[in-house]
């Protein structure tokens, strides 16, 4: 009995060990190494062929040089802070747009809800990359948006949107909106209609019952949605790379440049490890709020 229980637990743990922990250790090790013009482009590598002395030599070659470099060069700090700012602002916008949509879905007639849900999920059926390229077509100088605005006469000069931070925000909000809508919708749909009737009965008008009943009871969905957007956006690379411009500074892009343009794998690994440590904070906060929610529901 016990053996079978352990076997069952062993499967996910092995999965995590092989596909998360081992690669992570490799990246940490890489971040402690030095650059070399070689394949692979770093030194030292771990080998057992030289016996115990070889292993001791290997560990003595590792140092924190790359982290010191990260701290001293303010490009990296600026990139981290700028990513943080972009992630926070786009999460706020996603919430502002996503909440009303989720609210509308939850209050729609029940027979409409599956269709509305479908519309929210539908974009996932097309490649993410293609959708971002489509935005390039919409936002460029001679793109659909500018043509439309010129045609209506609202503007007489095409707007420069593509390759600015505005385009990055548009791309992020568009891409991550479903991750905000779905958890909020799930918590709003569970909301017992008689609670709103009780609030009305006890003297609330519509806006009071929204702020005093609906909002607090959908808090769990809002928190989940915010984390689901904030965490991946912080490390986002494709959107700033394709839609952003020279002034768009995001750590995901820096990471890509270090790896592929500079071929400086050790520094790139150090950037990745620091990013992971930064992400740990919101992930832990998210886990704790989920835990609290579960306890409250029991």
């Amino acid at each position: 009995m016990n053996f079978r229980k352990y076997l069952l637990i062993l499967i996910p743990y092995t999965w995590l060990l092989l596909l998360f922990l081992v690669p992570f250790i490799i990246v940490v090790k890489m971040s402690l190494s030095d650059t070399e013009m070689a394949i692979p482009p770093y030194y030292p590598y771990f080998t057992l062929s030289e016996g115990w002395q070889g292993i001791v030599n290997f560990f003595s070659e590792l140092d924190f040089e790359n982290y010191v470099f990260l701290a001293e060069d303010n490009l990296y700090w600026k990139a981290y802070l700028s990513s943080l700012k972009i992630a926070l602002i786009s999460t706020a916008f996603t919430l502002l747009i996503g909440y009303p949509i989720a609210y509308g879905m939850a209050n729609a007639p029940p027979e409409w809800r599956p269709t509305l849900m479908m519309i929210i999920i539908l974009p996932f059926w097309t490649s993410f990359l293609i959708r971002i390229y489509a935005w390039m077509g919409i936002l460029s100088q001679e793109g659909f948006l500018n043509q439309f605005l010129l045609w209506t006469g609202i503007i007489d000069q095409p707007l420069t949107i593509l390759n600015t931070n505005i385009a990055v925000y548009i791309g992020i909000v568009y891409t991550y909106l479903p991750f905000m809508i779905l958890p909020i919708y799930a918590s709003l749909e569970k909301l017992d209609i008689s609670l709103l009737e009780a609030a009305k009965d006890l003297g609330c008008n519509r806006s009071q019952s929204f702020w005093l009943v609906t909002m607090p009871l959908s808090k769990a969905g809002v928190i989940a949605g915010c984390f689901l957007v904030f965490i991946p956006v912080l490390g986002e690379f494709v959107i700033p790379d394709l839609l952003g411009g020279a002034d768009t500074l995001m750590i995901g892009t820096i990471l890509w440049q270090e790896f592929f343009a500079n071929r400086d794998w050790p520094v790139a690994s150090a950037v990745a490890v620091v990013l992971l440590l930064l992400l740990m904070i919101p992930i832990i906060l998210f886990q704790r709020s989920e835990q609290k929610q579960r306890e409250a529901e029991q």
Binding site: A198, D201, L202
Partner: protein, 379 residues
């Protein structure tokens, strides 16, 4: 002595010129093609404990939700204190409702739930805490004020819901199946507490229930609803003893219904012939019955006496055999088969121990009752 007793008796519906607190005038409610409420007119008076009783889907909840402001009548008007309530939005009526699911706010503590309505009212902030304490004492919630709804039992939640709906001291309190979620014993205790609280506060209560025992325990008057119509409004004893139709008689309690043809006599009595080879029944009635009309004679099982020998002085006596016995502890129900095939239920208190019971299966027995024991119904 007996004079003063009569004047203190609470019967506002019999007082001439007494203004009702609530007045329904020709109220109908349609949901699409379905008629939930069909032309209902009645009054509820101040300090009454009025029960709306009926099978599920009879429209009783819709009727109550119209008072609360959650539904609007398709036709007709409802007045509270002489004012047409369609002009007052739900959140400004001095009517509060206790919901069937209790609808307690899960994110607020017991005390905050009770204070919820007070904070929306014009009560000064300094008085709210005192009022909440008062309500907690009234429903005996002790020191549970700081708990969240999911941390207390079902019975305690029911009390919080009651306290919350009473906190604003409404003129009218609506209770939608308030005790439905409680187990039987707790329900019976709570029924008496509900009556005590209602008498103490003097608030008018309207309760919706499908439990006739509950309606009879708590209410001053009962309105029986069936298919969107109020078919009888009366005090619990009148509903039970003098139902106005077969449907009411059948809905409330256990009853034997015997169909037959009536022959009137000079002294307010009717002779009912109902089956070949069975003696006719004699019953007193106050309603006018035409000679030869089809009538239904209704008699409650506990009004029927059962004897081994034919009683000499009873005005009605029929012979049969015991077909089945249902032993309920305090009483037993005997199903007696007549030679005509009819089945009559008689109830007897189990004053002796079961082993010393007088009757058993297939015994020949005589059923008898006086001419005032039953009631003659024409519809």
């Amino acid at each position: 002595m007996s004079e003063t007793d009569k004047t203190t008796c609470f019967e506002p519906w019999n007082e001439v010129g007494k203004k009702p607190l609530i007045e329904f005038r020709g109220v109908s409610k349609k949901f699409g093609a379905l008629t939930a409420i069909d032309n209902v007119s009645f009054n509820i008076y101040e300090r009454e404990f009025f029960a709306l009783l009926g099978p599920s889907g009879c429209g009783k909840t819709t009727l109550m939700r119209m008072l609360g402001g959650f539904e609007t009548p398709s036709q007709g008007q409802i007045f509270i204190d002489g004012k047409d309530i369609s002009t007052i939005p739900a959140n400004q009526r001095s009517v509060n409702m206790m919901f069937q699911s209790y609808a307690l706010f899960p994110h607020l503590t017991v005390a905050d739930n009770i204070a919820f309505g007070l904070k929306r009212s014009d009560m000064p902030k300094s008085e709210i805490a005192g009022r909440v304490d008062e309500m907690i004492k009234l429903v005996q919630l002790g020191n549970l004020g700081g708990r969240k709804p999911h941390q207390i039992s079902g019975g305690q939640r029911q009390r919080v819901a009651l306290a919350r709906s009473l906190a604003k001291a409404p003129k009218l309190l609506l209770l939608d199946e308030p005790l439905g979620a409680l187990d039987k014993k707790l329900r019976q205790e709570t029924q008496f507490e509900l009556v005590d609280i209602q008498e103490k506060l003097g608030t008018t209560f309207v309760i919706v229930t499908h439990d006739q025992e509950e309606a009879m325990t708590v209410s001053s008057r009962i309105g029986i609803m069936d298919q969107g119509k109020l078919i009888q409004i009366d005090t619990p004893d009148r509903i039970y003893e003098a139902p106005n139709s077969v449907r009411v008689a059948d809905f409330i309690g256990d009853v034997n219904l015997i169909e037959g043809n009536a022959t009137t006599t000079a002294d307010d009595k009717v002779i009912i012939s109902w089956a070949e080879g069975q003696p006719t029944l004699t019953a007193q009635t106050t309603t006018n019955i035409t000679d030869g009309a089809k009538v239904t004679f209704a008699i409650r099982p506990e009004k029927i006496a059962m004897t081994t020998d034919k009683p000499t002085d009873a005005s009605n006596a029929i012979e049969g055999h015991i077909h089945d016995i249902a032993y309920l502890g305090n009483v037993s129900i005997y199903k007696v088969r007549l030679s005509s095939g009819h089945m009559i239920k008689a109830q007897a208190a189990n004053t002796r121990r079961l082993s010393r019971r007088n009757y058993t299966w297939e015994d020949k027995v005589w059923l008898s009752w006086t001419d005032t024991a039953g009631i003659v119904l024409t519809k």
